[in-house]
């Protein structure tokens, strides 16, 4: 430890085994690394070595098992069962390495096994100490539930200076001394060849394959140390994937995984997420990609191993350099910390296949599937190591899980005992790991038409437990397993059937999965997948989606590419607008307005505000259609309901705003059964279409006030008061009061809706039915074309099919969140000012009309955001604002035009009376007073009808009865007049003295 390790220590000559990494400055035996130690460990002649010299005892390893033997065993041509290290230890007959009996080995080694209990001379401890064989110790064993590896590498074969340190302190008793004295520098060269390396090369080959493990490990090592983002960029370019441009050339030159490893060290993480596409794009590692995919059980542990080695190496280097946080003792601590950890590589990034396409030949391979989590079990303690004790001689044995099974020893392994059937499980000495079984179901986009979705079981382990919850859409990478089914767990009878499941190595929550839900309504950062290292440094999601697209296999990915293509069309706006309800003829502006409603503005919350992120500004656009019957308003609504995310359709008649129950009652008038249904404002995050809005009961409508501005619903029912979110856009249709729109009356008089409610609609369209021969003919042509031709002619030009339009909207809503550019905000301000000044700048009028209020400004912002979103643009630009203003103007022109003056007046919508009307009321009032004060009715007052008649005579325009009573009412309230009598006999009297 005195000599600082050289960074590029030449130890690892070519045929040196896998993990003899550079800073190999340990002792001789340490440098022997994986393959050699077993020899030393088990050769009967060298008992002292059996104690596994200095393998990180301090790592307070709970589980202690000699794992390093396999390659060697293989090399020796022993018939290696899948779980190699076990056999030699417990099956005496089968191996030359077996211990003749447990007793001789017992005492010296036992201490290793008992965690942190250095002394126990006696052999009958209460806690059933492990028998020595089991105690043959290795450090923290990387026992991954997801990888039932046939190959167990000692997680750390390498020694670092630090390690020795601690080891020596810890168990110098055990050490054979060699490693203490031999200075690091000299060791490697000598030791490597010196190792009893009688084993030929195939020791490094994965059993049954031609894959050379050593080479694999070397490749991965190269990869971690050599991969730079630029390789990925090159790869992506070859595959014709859009790549993120590097801000600076340097950015492409970072050694990405070293950065990640440092981050792992700093954050104390233990998982490295490895994007397999990166493997593929790093030229030397192309082979590794295929190997990882085909033999994950062997390759992943090897990778884990390398990762740990490199972690140490890097820590060491950093300490040398004196990097921040790595100086002196701090660095030592860090390194010690790293030594004690188990690092896991979690590969991902394979093209996700449909779970239907999994077939038996994928067994034991690494695959990736997508789906929807429908069920997750509670955490299951999964036995990793079983602890058995012989009832006769109290000899204890640990058995590790092998391919999901624990083989109960049939007889006591101790030769002297050897009793059959006496081994009993001691539960509190067994080791358990977290496990969870998850049922994953196909997502609707992956299911073939007309079929019901399939499900598969996933097993997740350790860190991945509880990462995904039911309802999440995930992309998982895992190893596909098929295991035979037993007829009955108690019998040994097997079925010729297999069950299949996936051992998950990586889970990725797919955020794009919540299509149809406004993402801003979900908590941010709520879900976290463990591990460091994503696809790139940033833009994780985006890139992964693209990767999937590159495979071109999933329908969704294809669709996305198509949508993006679509968004580049110059006639996009028109195309989308005409695709919206193509069976409805014309009404372009209405369709455009509704289209923007479907896209919606962005929800904003002001972070600086009070608690909980401050107030939230709605991004939902509300649209009201008012018009004559039979003008396809309902059809539009039905259509929108179909394509809108979480669309809810309700008819205003007999609806209640909340709740989902309904009543069948007899209509008191017609004695017929009628259904009163709930109007379901609970279309949170979607669009609520309300037909026959005017027929809604006042109580229900009053709920909508709250919904439309605050976007919540408060319920007080059965003693429970609660507020529910109702972040919904409202598309409502209403009929005019007298069923036919009276163009002479202002809109507020035409619709029986409170002005406060009307003003909450961003866009209000009048859909009037005008009889016009040419228009009618065109309409008929359109419809006949639609319904009678064999190949239905949908408007004659290309339109998007419903599902595509719906997908486009979904995509935009989930992925595009435009922000205002400065240009746009200037334009918004200008437009707002000009809209507001329309009234004021009219030189002929003396009074000031309000043509726009801040509500209209907000509407304009929302509309321009929606327009930008429709274009898939990240910023709201000038054109968006201009279109928004145009739509606003159109809508205002139809809705807020004072029919008497022909001028736009928002007061009409906001208060129900326009300026013109107010002026007229003032006139009326004045006239009425003169009438009462002077002339005929003096003192006695005037008859109601009489007064109206006389007013009408004076006036050039019709005196409206409702307006007249309004004026009277106002005057009564002021105390200027009194009204006596009922109905026709009403008298209007001047209050004396008033």
């Amino acid at each position: 430890m005195s000599s600082p390790p050289r960074v590029d220590f030449p130890t690892s000559d070519i045929d040196d085994i896998e993990m003899d990494g550079p800073p190999q400055d340990g002792t001789i035996d340490q440098s022997l690394s994986i393959a050699p130690p077993p020899q030393r460990l088990f050769l009967p002649g060298t008992p002292s070595a059996a104690g596994t010299p200095a393998r990180q005892r301090y790592a307070n390893s709970v589980s202690v098992t000699p794992m390093s033997g396999i390659p060697a065993r293989r090399a020796l041509g022993l018939s290696t069962p899948r779980r190699a290290p076990r056999t030699p230890l417990f099956a005496p007959g089968s191996s030359p390495l077996a211990f003749p009996s447990s007793s001789p080995a017992k005492t010296p080694r036992r201490r290793v096994a008992i965690d942190s209990d250095p002394t126990f001379p006696d052999s009958e401890p209460l806690a059933f100490p492990s028998s020595p064989t089991a105690a043959l110790a290795t450090p923290v064993k990387n026992r991954r539930g997801d990888i039932h590896s046939s190959l167990s590498l000692t997680p750390t074969a390498r020694r670092s200076r630090r390690g020795d340190y601690n080891n020596d302190l810890n168990d110098n008793l055990n050490s054979d001394g060699t490693h203490l004295s031999i200075p690091a520098s000299s060791a490697p060269h000598l030791s490597a060849p010196a190792a009893p390396s009688d084993e030929p090369d195939e020791i490094r080959a994965i059993w049954g394959t031609t894959v050379n493990l050593a080479e694999t490990m070397k490749l991965f090592r190269d990869f971690l140390r050599g991969f730079k983002p630029k390789y990925r960029a090159i790869h992506d370019r070859q595959e014709n994937i859009r790549t993120r441009a590097f801000a600076t050339p340097d950015e492409g030159e970072v050694v990405l995984y070293e950065t990640y490893m440092r981050r792992i060290r700093q954050t104390g993480e233990t998982n490295l997420n490895l994007d397999m596409i990166n493997l593929l794009s790093y030229p030397p590692c192309k082979k590794l990609f295929a190997q990882l995919q085909k033999y994950p059980q062997e390759v992943v542990p090897a990778m884990d191993q390398i990762l740990k080695d490199l972690m140490l190496e890097l820590a060491d280097e950093d300490q040398q350099v004196g990097m921040d946080g790595m100086q002196g003792d701090q660095g030592d601590e860090e390194i010690a910390d790293i030594m004690g950890k188990v690092y896991k590589v979690r590969p991902f990034g394979l093209t996700a296949v449909n779970m239907r396409d999994l077939n038996p030949s994928d067994t034991d391979k690494l695959i990736s599937i997508k789906g929807l989590v429908i069920r997750a079990t509670p955490v299951i303690p999964d036995m990793k190591v079983a602890f058995f004790r012989c009832l006769t001689c109290s000899h204890t044995v640990q058995v590790e899980i092998d391919r999901g099974k624990i083989e109960e020893p049939a007889r006591c392994p101790r030769d002297v005992c050897g009793t059959v059937g006496t081994m009993s499980l001691v539960h509190n000495r067994c080791e358990f790991a977290d496990r969870q079984v998850i049922r994953l179901q196909e997502t609707p986009d992956a299911v073939p038409d007309g079929q019901t979705p399939h499900t598969v079981s996933l097993s997740v382990y350790d860190e991945l437990v509880d990462v995904c919850k039911p309802g999440d859409r995930v992309v998982v990478t895992g190893i596909y397993r098929s295991v035979p089914v037993r007829v009955n767990p108690r019998q040994r009878t097997m079925k010729s059937l297999f069950k299949t499941y996936l051992d998950v190595v990586h889970v990725r929550l797919s955020t794009g999965g919540t299509l149809g839900l406004d993402r801003s309504t979900r908590p941010a950062g709520g879900d976290k997948v463990p591990g460091i290292g994503g696809v790139g440094d940033s833009a994780d999601d985006q890139e992964l989606e693209e990767q999937i697209a590159q495979g071109g296999l999933t329908r969704k990915a294809e669709l996305e590419a198509k949508l993006i293509d679509l968004s580049r069309r110059h006639d996009l706006y028109d195309l989308l607008a005409r695709s919206l309800a193509p069976s409805i003829w014309e009404m372009d502006d209405v369709k455009k307005g509704i289209l923007l409603q479907l896209f919606g503005g962005t929800n904003k919350s002001i972070a600086r505000g009070g608690g909980g992120g401050g107030p939230r500004y709605r991004g939902d656009i509300n649209v009201l259609l008012v018009g004559d019957p039979g003008t396809s308003k309902s059809q539009i609504l039905q259509y929108v309901h179909k394509i809108a995310p979480r669309g809810v359709y309700a008819s205003g008649k007999g609806s209640s705003a909340v709740g989902l129950t309904a009543y069948v009652t007899r209509d008191p008038d017609s004695k017929q059964l009628v259904l009163e249904s709930g109007a379901l404002v609970l279309s949170d995050g979607g669009v609520c279409c309300i037909d026959e809005f005017d027929k809604m009961s006042d109580a229900t409508r009053s709920v909508l006030h709250e919904v439309m501005e605050q976007q919540t619903v408060s319920i007080a029912k059965a003693g429970i008061i609660t507020t529910l979110n109702a972040r919904t856009s409202i598309l409502a249709a209403a009929n005019p009061v007298e069923s036919k729109y009276n163009v002479d009356l202002p809109i507020t008089r035409n619709i029986d809706l409170p002005p406060t409610l009307i003003s909450r609609f961003d866009l209000l369209y009048l859909v009037l039915d005008q009889v016009d021969e040419t228009l009618d003919r065109k309409l008929a042509q359109h419809l006949v074309g639609l319904y009678l031709e064999d190949a239905p002619n949908t408007g004659g030009y290309d339109v998007l099919p419903l599902d595509e339009l719906s997908a486009y909207i979904d995509y935009a809503r989930t992925n595009i969140h435009p922000v205002l550019s400065s240009e746009a905000s200037d334009e918004l301000v200008a437009s707002y000012v000009s809209l507001r000044s329309i009234g004021a700048s009219d030189p002929r009028s003396s009074e000031k009309r309000i043509t726009a209020t801040t509500r209209q400004l907000e509407s304009m912002i929302r509309l321009s955001e929606a327009h930008a979103r429709m274009r898939f643009a990240a910023h709201v630009e000038l054109q968006d604002v201009q279109e928004a203003c145009r739509l606003m103007r159109e809508a205002i022109r139809t809705s807020a035009m004072d029919p008497r003056t022909g001028k736009i007046d928002m007061g009409l919508l906001n208060t129900g009376t326009g300026v013109g009307q107010r002026k007229m009321q003032d006139d009326m009032r004045r006239e009425l007073l003169t009438m009462l004060d002077g002339g005929a009715g003096k003192g006695k007052g005037l008859k109601w009808g009489e007064a109206m008649k006389r007013l009408a005579d004076q006036s050039s325009i019709r005196v409206d009865a409702a307006e007249f009573s309004e004026v009277i009412k106002a005057m009564v309230n002021e105390g200027v007049l009194t009204v006596v009598g009922e109905r026709d006999k009403r008298m209007i009297r001047r209050v004396e003295g008033a």
């Binding site: 429908i374 309802g471 040994r492 319904y787």
Partner: protein, 525 residues
């Protein structure tokens, strides 16, 4: 003609499979297809050979097959395709064939000492039930096997997987080894399976799962929807049929009967621009009196005419409690009334509805029916996701009032009975004057032909011009006529053409349909 193959196959299908396997050893990948081909050749080529196989149906429930592993045929509807495929070892020791339930269980000792993952093959597993709503005459036609009087199955396993609660039916777990052919099977497809009947636990991985009848399919055939019946001179049948329906079931109201026939001619035409069967309400249909049967005569008449027909007597209780649309609970797809094969006619009677509360489920059920009426799609609910399945269901609503309380239907025809025939509406089946078999067969094939015809009706150029002119003119006269009226009339014209077995909407038909609709309109207040 009973070939030796046939006898062999019927007597010991397992042996035949094993023999085939020996012949085709080494071609394990294509073996299931070989089996399917072999058995299709033997059985599916003609109805005669098919009928040699014992049927599995309500009259021949699985329990009645005492012989283990007997060969049966099952005409059923695919109810659920969501079970995971089953993985089996296709090649066992001693060159024995795996699959088809052969050697399900074996002691571990017999377990192949080493097996290759390549020998693992998949079998598609699905759940099939007796075709819901298949009328008796149709069943007889298909079975053509004398009722041997065996008691009908009392308690079929997994009753929640049959659309009609408490109805006698058979439910079978079907395992299809020929995967490629199985891929195309969809929910509500009607399929004839021929296979080996066994009984196995529902979930091979779970010991506690119930034991259900399993059918290891050797070959299967999907029923094509349009049985091309010869289009003879069936047009004359039309008037007779209308008269018969009117006299027997609709109190002599021929107009209503004519609308009914129009409705029965409808099916899904295209979905791109939705041209879907409209729905029909027969309003002013009196409720049954205490003494009369609860089901209207119409029920019996329709079940004698249609191959696929189902009555749902609506009541609040039924709406609130039963499923209408299928729903997956605990990964098991529960069925609902609306999960019926394409081409089914549904009669909903509202007469039994009383005042009361409709809970959430009831509303969802009503919505599901309305969705079928409007869009011919049915939503299956799965946890966290919903899947929309296309349907082709003709719905007819009977209600007491002026219009249906629950549904908006395409047409509403108020019934106008002749007072003398008032009792016709509710009478037991045995009082119906059923025409002779030839006539009845003619009626049946007429309706089938009309339905088929609906898919081919065209509109000639000049007719469409005429319609346009007509619309413009009418609108000049009466501004209250809107585009909706035009669409409505065009639907009627199409149906009328189909019910007259015409291939084209002519000006004549257009005018007739206008008159027809006007007479209907006159009735509605």
């Amino acid at each position: 003609m009973v070939s030796a193959f046939l006898i062999d196959a019927i007597n010991n299908p397992t042996k035949v499979v094993q023999e085939l396997y020996e012949e085709h050893t080494g071609n394990i990948d294509h073996f299931p297809a070989v089996v399917a081909r072999h058995f299709s050749d033997v059985f599916l080529n003609s109805d005669d050979t098919l009928r040699e196989v014992l049927p599995l149906d309500v009259n021949h429930p699985p329990e009645s097959f005492t012989h283990n592993r007997s060969l049966v045929r099952f005409h059923g509807m695919v109810q659920d395709t969501s079970s995971s495929p089953e993985m089996y070892l296709a090649s066992l020791n001693e060159n024995k064939c795996g699959g088809w339930g052969i050697s399900q269980n074996m002691p571990a000792s017999e377990w192949p000492s080493s097996f290759d993952y390549c020998d693992l093959k998949e079998a598609t597993a699905l759940w099939a039930v007796t075709v819901p709503g298949q009328t008796d005459w149709r069943t007889e036609e298909l079975t053509a096997h004398s009722h041997c009087g065996s008691s009908s199955s009392q308690n079929a396993p997994q009753p929640h997987k049959f659309p009609v609660p408490n109805a006698p039916h058979i439910g079978v777990q079907v395992k299809i080894y020929d995967n490629e052919a199985a891929q195309s099977l969809k929910a509500t497809d009607v399929v004839t399976f021929i296979g080996i009947l066994t009984s196995e636990s529902l979930d091979s991985e779970d010991v506690s799962s119930p034991v259900v009848p399993s059918l290891h399919v050797l070959c299967h055939k999907v029923q094509s929807t349009g049985d091309a019946s010869p289009r003879e001179e069936l047009a004359t049948v039309r008037d007779n049929l209308i008269k018969w329906i009117a006299d027997e079931a609709l109190g002599g109201d021929e107009v209503a009967a004519q609308w009914l026939v129009l409705e029965l001619s409808a099916k899904v035409y295209t979905r791109t621009t939705p041209l879907l069967p409209p729905s029909l309400t027969l309003s002013r249909f009196p409720s049954p009196t205490a003494s009369s049967p609860a089901l209207p005569t119409l029920h019996h008449v329709l079940s004698d005419l249609l191959p696929q027909y189902l009555t749902v007597p609506l009541s609040l209780d039924l709406l609130n409690k039963e499923n209408f649309s299928p729903e997956s609970k605990d990964e098991d797809l529960h069925s609902g009334y609306l999960q019926v094969p394409r081409g089914t006619t549904l009669l909903l009677t509202e007469n039994g509805v009383q005042e009361g509360k409709l809970v959430e489920k009831g509303i969802m059920n009503i919505r599901a029916v309305q969705e079928v009426m409007d869009a011919q799609t049915l939503e299956y609910s799965f946890p966290f996701s919903k899947f929309s399945f296309p349907t082709d269901i003709v719905t007819i609503v009977l209600c007491d009032g002026r219009k249906s309380a629950f549904f908006q239907t395409g047409f509403t025809v108020p019934l106008e009975m002749k007072p003398s025939l008032k009792d016709n509406l509710y009478k037991p089946r045995d009082q119906i004057k059923i025409p002779d078999t030839v006539k009845l067969a003619a009626y049946r094939s007429f309706l089938a032909a009309a339905k088929q015809c609906f898919g081919t009706v065209q509109v000639a150029e000049e007719t469409s011009k005429h319609i346009q002119e007509d619309f413009v003119r009418q609108r000049q006269e009466d501004p209250s006529i809107t585009a909706d009226n035009l669409i409505h009339l065009m639907k009627v014209a199409r149906l009328l053409a189909a019910s007259m077995l015409e291939r084209e909407v002519t000006v004549d038909i257009w005018e007739t349909s206008k008159r027809l609709d006007a007479s209907r309109r006159k009735r509605s207040p």
